[in-house]
């Protein structure tokens, strides 16, 4: 008998199309291909569904039929590399940038980046918040790993909001936008539009520069109080 590794390789190849392996049979051998198609369909369908759950706004923007065709192409080029599917999809935004059929939707990769950042924030580690009276101006702050700032040349934040389930998709804004992604203490992960200077302020903190340096850019109070209120300035050690 062929070793199991060869059998599974043949099986895997046939999941992508072509003839089914000669060793795959059924009680009625004439039906083997129709039965094998269940596996083909399970693999393709479940991965498309998983990608759609991770990028629901991208899916809504292009529609389910188009999304599924695009997802099939993405899955072929960038299949999951681990059984932990929440870690799969970082390559989706760059893939969209290079995918000619969506070249007419230049904001789509940035919407995908927002969705990817939200997933990362949702699963980010639990850290202990730093009490406000322990803030030091001359030390780098440890921001919670859910805190991310995104820059878009497009109104990606407004597009994301306009395409939430209860919204009609209509857009009132235009132009470049900045997004703050963070996980709040109730585990919600909102997408918040930031001014360019507030975005730069948090970027500088994320780069590990002390508060005193970031405060040169803008009045630190609004962003600092938001970060403190949501417990996003942290002590070093993790909870658990």
């Amino acid at each position: 008998m062929q070793p199991l590794s060869e059998l599974t390789r043949s099986f895997r190849q046939a999941l992508s199309g072509g003839d089914i392996p000669a060793f795959v049979t059924a009680t009625d051998p004439a039906e083997a291909a129709q039965r094998f198609a269940v596996y083909r369909n399970n693999v393709a369908h479940s991965l498309r569904q998983a990608l759609g759950r991770r990028f629901p706004v991208v899916k809504r923007l292009v529609g389910t039929t188009f999304f599924d065709a695009m997802a099939t192409e993405f899955i072929a080029r960038h299949p999951p590399q681990s059984p932990v599917l929440q870690e799969w999809g970082e390559a989706f935004a760059p893939f969209l940038e290079g995918f000619p059929p969506v070249a007419t939707l230049p904001y789509l990769p940035d919407v995908a980046r927002i969705e990817w950042a939200r997933g990362r924030a949702y699963h980010a580690a639990d850290l202990t918040p730093l009490p406000a009276d322990q803030l030091q101006e001359d030390h780098p702050l440890i921001l919670h790993p859910s805190v991310q700032v995104l820059h878009s040349h497009h109104p990606a934040v407004s597009i994301w909001h306009a395409n939430q389930p209860a919204r009609d998709g209509k857009l009132r804004a235009g132009g470049a936008e900045y997004a703050l992604i963070r996980r709040k203490p109730d585990f919600e992960v909102p997408v918040m539009a930031l001014s360019p200077t507030d975005a730069a302020f948090i970027d500088v903190l994320l780069q590990g520069k002390p508060l005193g340096v970031a405060a040169i850019i803008t009045d630190p109070v609004p962003m600092l109080s938001l970060l403190l209120k949501d417990g996003l300035i942290c002590k070093k050690e993790s909870i658990q």
Partner: protein, 280 residues
């Protein structure tokens, strides 16, 4: 502590609030290991809260025990999860789901031969050694047959249990699906199945398609448990006595009350048997 011999449900995050508000009496909750391997956040907060009130079963779908190579990196992460939550049971599948590093997100079949039996036993040994706990291995639902297979599935699983000391998870829906698909009598499968090794039962819904030769059932976990599967479950309980029994519903997940009524249906069958056992 082993799982209690009563009905449990697969936990879905959208039901968390309903569970907290109503505190239903349930034997246990089961979660898929792979959904709890992130660093933190809501999944861990919910599982930590559930763990305080209920027995917990962790059910893996990604170790690829039935493939040529066990995913060692993934095993280390599953071990950390089990160390953190100390579940009352850990189970996995007689199936493969990864090809090299590529994860296929389905439970794929394998041929049953002397050589694959040895390989799977090695994998089960490695998993049990790494986790430091006994594994329950679940029978698959299958749609095709391998020409190479020379050992019946029931004997294959019996041999794995005997050689490795692992327990078995009997998915009654999978028994029904596979037997209908391969034109076998599910009762013959049960007659041959080593029920003494069974530590947990799974129940779930399936879809039905039609082939020229007859029905093709698909293990879809997206609907109520079918009547013939309930009947087969009652037959298992008659033969094996009460066992921890999980209702799985993973796709098109209904509202909490629908899921709970499925668990209550299983619990009613279980308590019938418990009463009879007490009366004898």
């Amino acid at each position: 502590m082993p799982l209690p011999s009563s009905a449990g449900l697969g936990f879905k995050a959208q039901h968390f609030q309903a569970i907290r508000d109503t505190q239903p009496r349930l034997g246990f909750f089961e979660v898929h290991a792979e959904n709890y391997l992130g660093d933190g956040g809501a999944p861990h907060a919910m599982l930590t809260a559930l763990r305080r009130d209920y027995a917990i079963s962790i059910h893996g779908v990604g170790l690829s025990i039935g493939g040529p190579t066990l995913d060692k990196a993934h095993l280390a992460r599953v071990r950390a999860l089990c160390d953190r939550y100390d579940p009352d049971s850990f189970s996995e599948h007689l199936a493969w789901s990864s090809h090299g590093a590529e994860y296929l997100n389905d439970l794929l079949p394998l041929p049953y031969t002397a050589a694959t039996l040895q390989q799977i036993c090695d994998h089960v040994d490695q998993v049990q050694d790494a986790l430091g706990r006994r594994l329950l291995l679940e029978n698959p639902s299958t749609y095709v047959i391998f020409e190479q297979s020379e050992i019946p599935e029931t004997e294959f699983m019996d041999q794995i249990a005997q050689r490795t000391g692992c327990g078995l998870l009997l998915d009654v829906n999978n028994v029904f699906v596979s037997c209908v698909n391969h034109r076998m009598d599910p009762l013959n499968y049960l007659n041959a199945f080593p029920l003494r090794h069974v530590g947990e039962i799974h129940l779930g819904g399936h879809d039905e398609e039609e082939l020229p030769s007859g029905p093709l059932l698909i293990d879809a976990h997206g609907s109520e448990v079918a009547d013939p599967v309930w009947a087969l479950y009652a037959e298992v309980l008659d033969r094996a006595g009460p066992l921890p029994s999980l209702v799985e519903w993973d796709n098109d997940v209904p509202e909490w009350s629908v899921l709970l009524s499925e668990a209550q249906r299983a619990e009613a069958l279980l308590s019938d048997r418990t009463r009879h056992a007490a009366a004898e």
